[in-house]
Symmetry: C2
Subunit: 613 residues, 2 copies
């Protein structure tokens, strides 16, 4: 067949190409074409780094892509390792996906994600006992395991009583053949008939608001399914402080909140397994991350100390227990592993996010920010890491804002200066009539109002420039974003001066926290800002920068890194090396307490103006 | 004070003496006098070897002495380490208690019992967290533990969730001071207010018929109390085969039998603690021994394989689990450790007995015998050990004997040739009118009847010599031991030809088993026979020898060693070195299967006559 009939894939802007092969994904095609794509996870669909924009017919998005790309999918972005173009076509490779160009994300990641899970599976054939050698069933199992692993015959293992009780039945029905799963090469955590389906693992990011579960095949590291739900602890309060208070005022609350999450997690595991055609009892390990309050409440540890100086957690390094102890319905002998916390307000989620972005290897000054009620952040440079938590408050999540709301249908998610002036054009989630502002919408509103001159750097409305769009409300002047007849709830949609002040406090807290870390590390200028979490993906970097949310940084150096905490949890699930690295990283990270810090208050006041200096 | 007014203790027959000091026990006095007494446990009241006969006023017997000496106490024997003579007097030292004279029991025991339990206790004072060093409570506990143990500060430990949950309350009430108990220097198994009472341990010998619990102080190795009860599994059958069958015919039986023993064991622990003024929740470890069927049933392991060729157990090496998993009401985090089994019919009890007598160090050919339904035995010589089990049947425990019974009040326990002929004089337990024969009584009856010529070596009654004392019963000729008017049940007490045949089969099985082991090891002659278990203590060595129960051995070389299995369990509780030694010993021991053994049947037939050749 002449080569001009063979479909080709052309990579832009480098103009390299490779033949389109149906069995090859775009990452493999890029490798064939000599295009260096970021793929620290080795093409397992985990790191979300090999983003490309196919300009032609491509295969359908996978669950992993949906989880990792979110709304960027709609923008045409895909993960090269999860996507193929059997008929060929053009593929645009954005600069951040080119290996060697995104310096920070490359550093320390080039080794890729080696599959090295705590759980290993073995197909065994046990010796048959005889009168001459009447060896016990358990010891024959151990000998077969040692042989399968190339160890000394006398190698000891641990076998839980439940599995020992099941062993004779398995041996009788299988003629001495069975599948065994080992954890850390030591404890037998599952026994089943020979030829069992692959062992599964679950990585969970337990957020204050949402919880996400990633189901992985531990035999090949593939992400099989992702499921998500709202954290069912909302009735006890929207933020961690409310929930900690609930534990102090009601002795039942701790157990009730833990149970609520356990039940949701059981449902998430079943959902993910249903997507993957698997069974939850094949899940042999669950790795969890979340903030320190979620950690304590889930584990039924009194969170009181988290809310009182010196804000010390009860346990900081990894906590391990049998999943069934909390009522998780996974394999009966499945283990739960919580990644380490750093401090009372720097949780396992930020440790996992730091792992996901390779903060321990970053050379150029980089700020990793998890925006939320507590703005947790890590400043990384030259292998050093400083972490702090600022009480940013819930404004950036729409909390404490007159008409604030979460990023749900009906929320204003973006504003735009139309015809060079007011009123602002609004983008609303799912195109509905607006009913409120979500975090990214608020940032966008402020940015546009600043640009239009209707809002001053001090945070005061300019009555002249705002003109007819400003009115006097109960809590001071208000910008009317939409008249009652255009909204979903039949009321005017307004942004008040009080709302502006809330956002100003939040952004000042974040910026001042970052500056304390920079002072402490002796860093003058940030080279990169990485925004973790869903909010980071929705936020427009230029808008956030215009508000002065971060110390000065180039707009193209601000990047959303998706659910980095979840990615870090998956990395720790699939690789013990990464799990140890998370531990080392959390030990190496220095925690900076901002309350009472001599610099913080001055920097906080200096950070109040809406300006990027 | 002139020395002739100072009370003295004189040791016989060596005529050495030492001053009587109220604070010194007789073992210490013997040391002061230069008398070498056997004391492999180092004077902790565990080994029962420092037996002496005080001939003067002595302190009251301790619970440990009652347990270890049994009826020998009534004979005037005492343990030197548990007994004092504040007013002085004479002390007779029997040959077997003199160090260096009882060669076998000395070998390998001279190092004494070093206290080295799995559980260690530590009084800790935790660092106070501050804003500068807001370290987590668990990590501060670990740092204090590492410091207390002279380990690196980063040393990891395991802390069960239940204890982690209790930690903040303990720290708050104790101002950072607390007591911690560690197992194997790794897992925290108890936390309590500072200055806690000593950690306790329980050693349990779970026999088919009786169960005995030994409560020990793990801080100094002292035996605090002993409690005993009948094994409550009797309703499922008197012997292990009946109980294994019960499991096969009734799916509930396994769980029910396990639960019954667990409840009895909880009661034994409470009883022992009540004696010692202690609390069962201070028991942090329980070491158990018993035969393989008791092991399996207690652990809810299907015992079916024990009763079918090749008689392989489900687990042979030590089994460990949290005691609470079975419902044991000890400390919440207490562990249970079963010593290793050797084979389906050579259990952890015989392994523990072998440990207690130091079988791994024995040089001169020695037979260790645990007489019971299964005559389990170990032949030890020159550091080698062979073990087997013979189906001796229950005759030696009074089973399958027309008027057989256990060693309870009313049982004939000894017979004597009065006036050189028949009728035999009977000794009955508690001096009651007789109602049956217990094991030692049966052996004694046969021995006397042989001596009187009323019974021939072939096992047939001699009608002429037995004369009027013989009558014809339903099952053949019967020796009338007591007329109806002299018995406790108003019936004649008889020993039938069928009873004699049962006993003959039992003794032939034991002797043939021992001879197979001797053949296999190339041993011509035994230098010593050690009888373990209560029966061994009651049996008259000369009588047993006259029946030809053992291969030829000098009568003074036959010795009861008490509840050696229980002593071995205590040794393994108090010393990890002994626990490892039990493991090594069980691995070094070779198991000889008698069923189908080419020599056994011929030797069995040859062993039928009642003669000691």
């Amino acid at each position: 067949m002449p080569s001009d009939l063979q479909p080709e894939i052309f990579f832009k802007p480098s103009n390299q190409s490779a033949p389109a092969r149906p069995e090859q994904n775009l990452l493999q095609a890029a490798q064939a074409a000599g295009v260096g794509l970021e793929a620290p996870c080795g093409g397992k669909g985990l790191c979300g780094k090999c983003r490309v924009r196919p300009e032609g017919e491509a295969t359908d998005p996978t669950p992993g892509e949906k989880a990792l790309l979110g709304t960027r999918l709609a923008d045409g972005l895909r993960l090269a390792c999860q996507c193929a173009m059997p008929a060929g076509g053009q593929v645009h490779v954005p600069p951040e996906s080119r290996r060697g160009e995104a310096v920070i994300l490359t550093s320390g990641r080039s080794e890729g994600l080696e599959l090295d899970p705590a759980i290993t599976s073995h197909e065994l054939s046990l010796a048959v006992p005889s009168l001459e050698a009447p060896e016990a069933a358990r010891e024959r199992l151990f000998a077969a395991l040692a042989q399968a692993r190339g160890q000394e015959p006398g190698q000891g293992f641990d076998l839980p009583m439940g599995l020992l009780r099941a062993l004779p039945g398995l041996l009788a029905s299988g003629g001495g053949r069975l599948s065994a799963a080992l954890r850390h090469g030591r404890e037998v955590v599952d026994l089943r008939p020979a030829g069992a389906s692959p062992a599964l693992g679950l990585a969970v990011d337990l957020g204050t608001t949402t919880m996400v579960a990633y189901l992985c095949d531990l035999s090949d590291g593939q992400l099989l399914a992702v499921s998500a739900a709202m954290n069912p602890q909302a009735p006890w309060g929207a933020d961690v402080i409310s929930r900690i208070s609930a534990c102090q005022s009601d002795p039942q609350a701790l157990g009730d909140m833990s149970r609520a999450v356990v039940e949701s997690l059981n449902q998430l595991a079943r959902d993910a397994c249903a997507q993957a055609g698997a069974e939850a009892e094949r899940i042999l390990e669950c790795v969890m991350v979340g903030n320190s309050a979620m950690h304590h409440i889930f584990l039924k540890l009194d969170p009181a100390s988290l809310a009182q100086a010196p804000y010390a957690p009860l346990a900081r390094r990894p906590v391990e227990l049998k999943a069934r102890e909390l009522g998780l319905e996974l394999a009966p002998e499945a283990w739960l592993h919580w990644l380490p916390l750093k401090a009372g307000f720097v949780g396992a989620d930020i440790v996992a996010a730091a792992l996901a972005v390779g903060a321990d290897q970053i050379q150029e000054p980089t700020l990793l920010l998890d925006l939320g009620t507590n703005g947790e952040m890590v400043l990384a440079a030259r292998g050093r890491m400083l972490a702090c938590s600022t009480a940013a408050g819930p404004a950036l999540e729409g909390g404490h804002i007159g008409q604030g709301m979460r990023g749900a249908p009906g929320a204003v998610e973006r504003a735009r200066l139309a015809k060079g002036g007011l009123p602002l054009e609004l983008s609303v989630i799912e195109g509905l009539p607006p009913v409120g502002f979500c975090g990214s919408g608020l940032v966008s509103m402020l940015s546009c109002l600043l640009e239009a001159g209707a809002l001053g750097e001090s945070g005061s409305f300019d009555h002249e420039r705002a003109g007819e769009h400003l009115r006097q409300g109960d809590r001071g002047p208000e910008y009317v974003a939409a008249p009652a007849e255009h909204t979903g709830h039949g009321q005017e949609l307004v942004l008040s001066a009080a709302d502006v002040a809330e956002l100003q406090l939040a952004k000042a807290a974040i910026r001042a926290g970052a500056q304390v870390l920079m002072e402490q590390m002796g860093v003058d200028k940030l080279e990169r800002v990485l925004l973790a979490g869903a909010f980071g993906n929705y936020l427009d970097p230029a808008e956030a920068r215009r508000l002065g949310m971060f110390p000065e940084v180039a707009v193209e150096a601000i990047e959303g890194v998706g659910n980095a905490a979840g990615v870090g949890a998956v990395m720790a699930l699939l690789s013990l090396r990464q799990r140890r690295r998370a531990m080392d990283l959390s030990e190496a990270m220095r925690y900076v307490e901002l309350s009472g810090h001599p610099l913080f208050n001055d920097l906080f006041v200096d950070s109040m103006p809406f300006q990027n200096v």
